[in-house]
């Protein structure tokens, strides 16, 4: 009898798991003993770190997008349809058109930036965390003639280093275009330092001071007046801006909320080591969809995929799921248009940025291309 693994979500986490499973269990999928089903609501697979480059006119969406069906192993059954309901009691996923029973489920439904999370933000602010947002922001950045460019950050959000990369790239960009002296760059952060990771915060402050980037800590955006162009902090203070770039709070996918599986933000309670959904033996959660205390980033999804695939293979072979995720993440940090650094850390080891270099920048650009090998489950 055919056993079925369903993966819901065709982003980096879901695609990687589907491909690695099909490749690792090729005999089983070719003999029909195992079916790997990937349910995704779009045919396009987008490499999200590309949005940052799009915002500075260093690339277009086509460069960072591929057809999902061409990335997948030929034996992965790709169902392009939105998952509407996940029933973990009946072990069933219902899409707009069909219903699928499963033996094992992998939830990789990601997160989305919610510009409605703060009153006035959708009308008064920009974000580069979506393709449409990055394209709109590119227009603003390229036509900006000077004034205050304000960056605000809400929680939770994905890729916590991207806002730093953004401000450093903006600094470089306006130096290169010759109007840096007319642009006030202001970076804000919700807590008492400029990044939640202390070593990163210390390093970033030195960079800010060297480059003349203003910063303010304890900044929690509460509302925006799009007419007057004023951002309001939770402490009541007013912050005028000419261009507001917000990293809004992220939420879990609609299907998670509709299925009653997540917390109040739509993130699924997940065992931080086994990556199983709390209270469920046959359900793994991966990537942004989890409530884990780690960055929501492609990198964490990548390391989590290693664990989930190994555990699924063990379980299919009747062995216990012994592989454990240790919270590992690895992040490149662009420190301008021509240099980069990186950090790596896990649940127990804090990160320490290395000195930025041109070589690391080229490594990051190379990874932008190599990513497709990761998605295919090769790298």
């Amino acid at each position: 009898m055919t056993r079925r693994i369903i993966i819901v979500g065709g982003g980096v986490a879901g695609t990687m798991v589907a491909n690695r499973l099909a490749k690792s269990l090729e005999n089983e999928v070719y003999s029909g003993e195992l079916e790997v089903v990937l349910i995704g609501n779009t045919g396009k697979h987008i490499y999200q770190p590309g949005f940052l480059f799009m915002a500075f006119n260093e690339g277009f969406l086509e460069q960072f997008a591929r057809e999902e069906k061409y990335l997948l192993h030929p034996k992965v059954n790709f169902v392009m349809d939105a998952a509407r309901h996940i029933d973990v009691d009946r072990k069933r996923v219902i899409t707009g058109k069909q219903s699928f029973d499963y033996d094992f489920l992998v939830i990789a439904t990601g997160s989305y930036p919610d510009m409605e999370s703060v009153p006035g933000l959708a009308a008064g602010g920009h974000t580069f965390y979506t393709p449409e947002g990055a394209e709109r922001l590119r227009h603003e950045i390229l036509n900006f003639q000077g004034g205050t460019l304000l960056v605000t950050i809400d929680v939770p959000h994905k890729c916590p280093v991207a806002p730093l990369e953004f401000i450093f790239m903006a600094d470089d960009y306006y130096r290169e275009t010759g109007i840096r002296n007319k642009v006030k760059l202001k970076y804000t952060y919700p807590i008492g330092r400029v990044h939640s990771l202390e070593p990163v915060a210390k390093w970033a402050v030195k960079e800010f001071e060297k480059r003349g980037i203003e910063y303010e800590v304890f900044f929690n955006l509460e509302k925006v007046d799009p007419e007057k162009k004023i951002a309001y902090n939770m402490d009541g203070s007013e912050h005028p801006y000419d261009l507001l770039i917000a990293i809004p709070a992220h939420r879990g996918a609609r299907v998670i909320q509709d299925s009653g599986l997540g917390d109040e933000d739509g993130f699924i309670p997940t065992d931080r080591y086994s990556l199983k959904m709390e209270g469920q033996d046959c359900v793994y959660v991966i990537g942004d969809a989890t409530d884990l205390p780690v960055s929501k980033a492609g990198s964490t999804a990548h390391y989590e995929a290693d664990v989930v695939v190994k555990n699924l293979i063990s379980e299919l072979k009747g062995l216990p799921a012994t592989h454990r995720y240790n919270g590992k993440a690895f992040c490149f940090i662009e420190t301008g248009l021509n240099e980069a650094t990186y950090i790596t850390f896990n649940y127990k080891q804090p990160p320490q940025p290395v000195p930025p270099s041109e070589m690391l920048h080229w490594f990051k650009l190379s990874y932008n291309e190599m990513y497709w090998l990761s998605a295919r489950g090769i790298l």
Binding site: D154, V155, P156, H157, P160, P190, I191, G192, R193, S196, L197, E198, F218, N220, M234, D235, G236, A249, E264, D265, R272, P293, V294, S295, G327, A329, F345, Y347, K348, P350, P351
Partner: protein, 79 residues
């Protein structure tokens, strides 16, 4: 401490990124005035960071105490 009615306990032990305080900020932003959020953090920095944030934002620190290898900190949303 028994009279404190905790709305929700946030277990952020073992967290570096996005960090225990960030978890608390998230809860308070979504909460109602009068809610009390208790944060468990194994990061020593939280004992300093959380009271600073609470003070700056005008909320109320209910308690902040060390228990073995972690901190137990409660904050009331006041506005």
């Amino acid at each position: 401490m028994s009279e404190v009615n905790i709305t929700k306990t946030i277990d952020a032990r073992g967290s570096y990124c996005p960090g225990p305080l960030m978890e608390l900020v998230k809860a308070i932003k979504r909460g109602q005035v009068g809610d009390v959020y208790e944060l468990l953090s194994s990061d020593n920095g939280s004992a300093k960071d959380v009271p600073e944030w609470v003070n700056k934002m005008g909320h109320e620190l209910v308690y902040c105490r060390e228990e073995g290898d972690f901190w137990r900190i409660a904050v009331k949303k006041t506005k």
